[in-house]
């Protein structure tokens, strides 16, 4: 046991290594307390959002759950999209002018939302589950920056991958079924079925990320998100009463699968009510903004 050192005893400070190039002047910390005596030779640089983005990119690419969820997502979108087109092209049926071949990509994308939502939840809730969030927030006390970096990295990753997959499906499907369809491929329809769908899916993933940050529990948050997708349809199916007809219709039209279908439908096929055109994207963007706002408040205010 060493003798206890009185606090005023000067401990030897480690001098900065002279060989370090580009060393900024060491800022001596002069608070009300005694100044520090140890000065790190490693140059001090203020961390920013770019550093947090790099960190989140490292995190998201270094776990297998990312590989699995995004891999399954690609398989679902490409596999089901191309399979559906293959089946239709083999049957000699003529497609309605209302139903564009692009719409055959719908089923794969709908199933892939499960993967995207799972990854969105896991991106943040796995940190809470393991306690890693405390280490993260010790390394970066700016909690809003951590959540922003997570949201940006996750959004861009899912958006790019979904865009690649939906574009491939749209190209192959329209090429395979061009003979069996008398309609006309418009740039706007292409754009909606690729960029529009990808934006919608990635934003839906952001909602999942926000729910994960709010609930801090992987299984709970994933369950909530599955409920959000499935429950309106299921509930609508069992609403028989005449008086509930309006509610039933609204639930059906604003359910996630139906909103997703809007991106594939031609404008003429749309009913008078319900979302049309790009409206589903605006709706999900507003929901995501609200959920993320709650997530920011929760993360900043609550104990980690």
């Amino acid at each position: 046991m060493t003798a206890p050192q009185p606090p005023q005893q000067p401990a030897f400070a480690q001098a900065p290594q002279p060989g370090q190039p580009g060393m900024p002047p060491q800022q001596q910390w002069t608070g009300p307390a005694a100044p520090y005596v140890y000065v790190s030779p490693i140059p001090v640089r203020k961390a920013n959002l770019g550093d947090a983005l790099r960190s989140e990119w490292t995190k998201i690419r270094s776990v297998r759950s990312t590989l699995w969820t995004l891999g399954v997502m690609l398989v679902l979108i490409l596999g089901i999209g191309l399979l559906a087109a293959g089946v239709v092209s083999g049957t000699d049926t003529e497609l309605d002018s209302d139903a564009s071949p692009l719409g055959l990509g719908f089923f794969g994308v709908l199933l892939s939302t499960i993967c995207v939502m799972t990854l969105g939840v896991l991106t943040i809730s796995s940190e809470f589950g393991t306690g890693l969030i405390r280490t993260t927030l010790t390394a970066c006390p700016d909690r809003a920056r951590v959540l922003t970096a997570k949201a940006i990295v996750f959004f861009l990753l899912t958006f790019v991958l979904t865009l690649v997959a939906t574009t491939l499906v749209a190209m192959f499907d329209s090429a395979m079924l061009a003979d069996q369809w008398d309609g006309e491929f418009t740039g706007a329809a292409y754009f909606k079925a690729t960029v529009g769908v990808s934006l919608f899916i990635a934003t839906l993933g952001l909602v999942a990320l926000a729910v994960g940050a709010l609930l801090r529990h992987s299984a709970g948050a994933i369950t909530v998100m599955l409920g959000v997708v499935l429950l309106p349809l299921v509930v609508a199916m069992f609403m028989f009463g005449e008086s509930l007809e309006k509610v039933r219709k609204a639930l059906f039209e604003y359910s996630i699968p139906n909103q997703l279908a809007v991106f594939y439908g031609t404008d003429a096929s749309e009913a008078a009510s319900g979302p049309t055109g790009w409206e589903p994207l605006w709706i999900v963007l507003v929901v995501a903004a609200l959920a993320l706002g709650g997530a920011y408040t929760s993360l900043v205010k609550r104990d980690a």
């Binding site: 050192q5 480690q14 910390w29 961390a47 550093d51 490292t58 280490t135 993260t136 390394a139 104990d303």
Partner: protein
């Protein structure tokens, strides 16, 4: 420098930390002690700005943690060895933290070398043992080469070599002028590592003093005296002489005498004067563990009771049934193994439990007013921080403290 002022944290009706004020100074290893559930980890989280105090505040170098400029370069912490994503490799875990803090990536390989994990850096941390997890957590704390370091139970799960390494690392970090704040349950470890102690119980400050002050304030040193077993009358003569000289004498189970209040040379003189031969005359300085147990005895939340096995007991031919007396030397846990001595400043937290019968019966005259401290034993030679490969003498780490042991003089 860490400074807590009136720190209080309530979770609903439960007060985890109450009005805690202390300072942790640079250049020394400060141990943070307390029973389970006493609020150590909560305090650590509040220092790091992870939990908001209900009232009061804590600052590091004059700033709250979340307002620190370049916080990860000022403060490093190990809170929980299991706080890693099991699917991520050690290197990727550290790399993500380094990138988040704006620390050059080559620093990751440096700290991996420092903690000795360079060979398993590419392996997923799911397969790590608790000791490897602790090393990974220490690596994360060292990433920013910070001036302030917090470690919550850093030696849990480490092998003896690892414990020695952590001890030397803490001392070395403190010697470089850093502030090192370490919580631990291992008293023997703290006695070897810490220079200063902050002790809490039930969320309140019990002590904030140097290790030596803590031990001498919370324990009584004594001399162990043994007279020849063949001459019981010599023992009585010596006891009478010692009591006459103002000492307090307790008899130990093996027939030795525990003497306080009389310095060792004087005991020898008295024995010589009484014409009594001595087989043993040895100084005993109380251990940190004993001092700690004495201080925190009333502030323990989770206390074990004797395992009665009442319903499982058949007629026992060997006579060790529930009613049978326990073998000698095994004090029932309900009893107070560290009774307040006469003249000892009573610990307010110790009063929660009424003092039980002392394990040793005083012999002879009434206790004198106040017990002068016996001369402290020579300090154990310090563990050399610069030589991690050679274990310092007497530094053999011991396992978790046996709480039912009465005295563990050899724990240091």
């Amino acid at each position: 420098m860490i400074e807590a002022v009136g720190l209080t944290k309530r979770y609903g009706a439960k007060t985890a930390v109450h009005n805690l004020s202390f300072q942790v100074r640079p250049g020394a290893v400060t141990g943070f002690l307390g029973p389970n559930g006493s609020g150590k980890s909560t305090t650590m989280r509040m220092i790091l700005g992870l939990d908001m105090p209900t009232s009061g505040h804590v600052t590091i170098g004059g700033h709250p943690f979340r307002k620190l400029p370049n916080a990860p370069r000022q403060v490093g912490a190990l809170l929980d060895a299991k706080a890693v994503h099991g699917g991520r490799s050690a290197r990727m875990h550290l790399l993500s933290l380094a990138q988040l803090a704006g620390i050059p990536a080559r620093r990751v390989d440096e700290v991996l070398g420092v903690v000795g994990l360079q060979d398993v850096a590419k392996r997923r941390s799911k397969g790590f043992s608790l000791g490897m997890g602790q090393r990974l957590g220490i690596a994360a704390a060292l990433l920013g080469d910070p001036q302030v370091l917090l470690f919550d139970e850093p030696v849990n799960g480490l092998d003896p070599e690892g414990i020695l390494w952590v001890r030397n690392l803490m001392k070395q970090l403190a010697a470089e002028g850093r502030t090192v704040f370490v919580s631990s349950h291992l008293m023997s470890e703290m006695a070897l590592t810490a220079d200063h102690l902050v002790v809490i119980g039930r969320g309140q400050l019990l002590a904030d003093m140097s290790v030596q002050d803590f031990i001498s304030a919370n324990s009584a040193d004594f001399a162990r005296v043994r007279t020849p077993d063949t001459e019981p009358e010599g023992r009585e003569k010596l006891t009478a002489a010692l009591v006459e000289a103002g000492g307090q004498v307790l008899s130990e189970p093996d027939g030795a005498l525990r003497v306080t209040g009389v310095p060792l040379p004087r005991i020898s003189d008295l024995a010589h004067g009484a014409d009594v031969r001595l087989w043993e005359l040895s100084p005993h300085q109380a251990s940190l563990e004993e001092a700690y147990m004495r201080m925190t005895q009333g502030a323990v939340d989770y206390r074990s009771t004797a395992d009665q096995r009442a319903h499982l007991q058949h007629a026992d031919p060997y006579g060790y049934g529930p009613g049978a007396p326990a073998p000698q030397g095994w004090a029932a846990p309900a009893g107070n193994p560290y009774p307040a001595l006469a003249g000892e400043q009573p610990n307010p937290y110790a009063q929660a439990m009424p003092p039980q019968a002392a394990p040793q019966q005083p012999l002879g005259a009434p206790a004198p007013q106040g017990i002068p401290q016996a001369p402290p034993a020579p300090p154990v030679p310090p563990a050399a921080p610069a030589a991690p490969s050679t274990p310092p003498p007497g530094a053999a780490p011991s396992g978790p403290a046996d709480l039912t042991k009465r005295d563990s003089e050899d724990a240091r």
